[in-house]
Symmetry: C2
Subunit: 161 residues, 2 copies
């Protein structure tokens, strides 16, 4: 995998044959990053990368469900999952599934690290049932989509500060 | 794992470190077994092993969701998932998640084989994200529960014939 030259891009690696890890530093304190990740009104501003995002469910607690529908110029895409663990400001473990491949479920473990200088490191590790599913995600254009989402999140965070 | 002596019990094996396989022969033609597995009114008669089962969703098609709540003497348990593949009379691939461990998702691949003598072989393989999750299922009392469900399914099938 080529590492993007832009330092604002996420670092994406494959620590094992069923995982994808991404890491990104945000110029905002951890409380603000947590807020932007868990407040539906804020998530709607960045998750869709500029596309309209309808948040049908987002119950940020253990056992809660989430379901987002992104309405882009080429059609609509639904995504959903369920929260396994929620530790405020620190960690969320949730499942992720795209309507286009129903029943193919990844487990995402997201952690936030307070860097002590007003910045926050976000790390997200996705675990798939099979290497084939992992590779399908890698080749889906996820890197570009992720960086677009994180760039939009930068703007949301700047507006919160 | 000890093999149950009763020939009516399912044969349960662990083909790999993240899977559980069970196999059971039913004294009914494949069409009838398929009907009992996919008609909500029939599923409600056997899946709960004698406990009341409320089928909140059961959309047996690719991308459809299912959600069952079993009401037993010691409380209620919710289960849910989504259909990945549905090939009528032959094969269903679906996810399985228990509310008690939200976000821990197994993928179940169920196949029916017509034995040509009025009997049908059912094979179900569950794939977990981790060996720990697989072992948790093995030690949850699943064998007893499965055999109770299949015994109840025998009765539903006998009534259909």
């Amino acid at each position: 995998m080529t590492r993007a030259a832009n330092p604002q891009n996420a670092t994406i690696t494959t620590p094992s044959d069923r995982t994808i890890r991404n890491e990104r530093i945000f110029n905002a304190p951890r409380d603000r990053v947590w807020q932007a990740l868990t407040d539906p009104a804020l998530v709607a501003q960045w998750w869709g990368r500029g596309n309209k995002l309808v948040i049908e469910r987002m119950e940020v607690k253990r056992g809660g469900h989430w379901r987002f529908v992104e309405h882009g110029p080429e059609g609509s895409h639904g995504y959903e999952g369920r929260y396994r663990e929620v530790t405020p400001k620190e960690r969320v473990v949730q499942t992720f599934e795209w309507d286009g491949m129903p029943g193919h479920v990844a487990v995402e473990t997201l952690t936030l690290e307070d860097l002590g200088d007003g910045r926050t490191r976000l790390v997200n590790v996705s675990l798939f049932h099979t290497t084939e599913e992992r590779d399908g995600m890698l080749h889906s254009g996820m890197e570009q989509g992720l960086n677009q989402s994180y760039a939009a999140l930068d703007k949301v965070l700047a507006a919160l500060n």
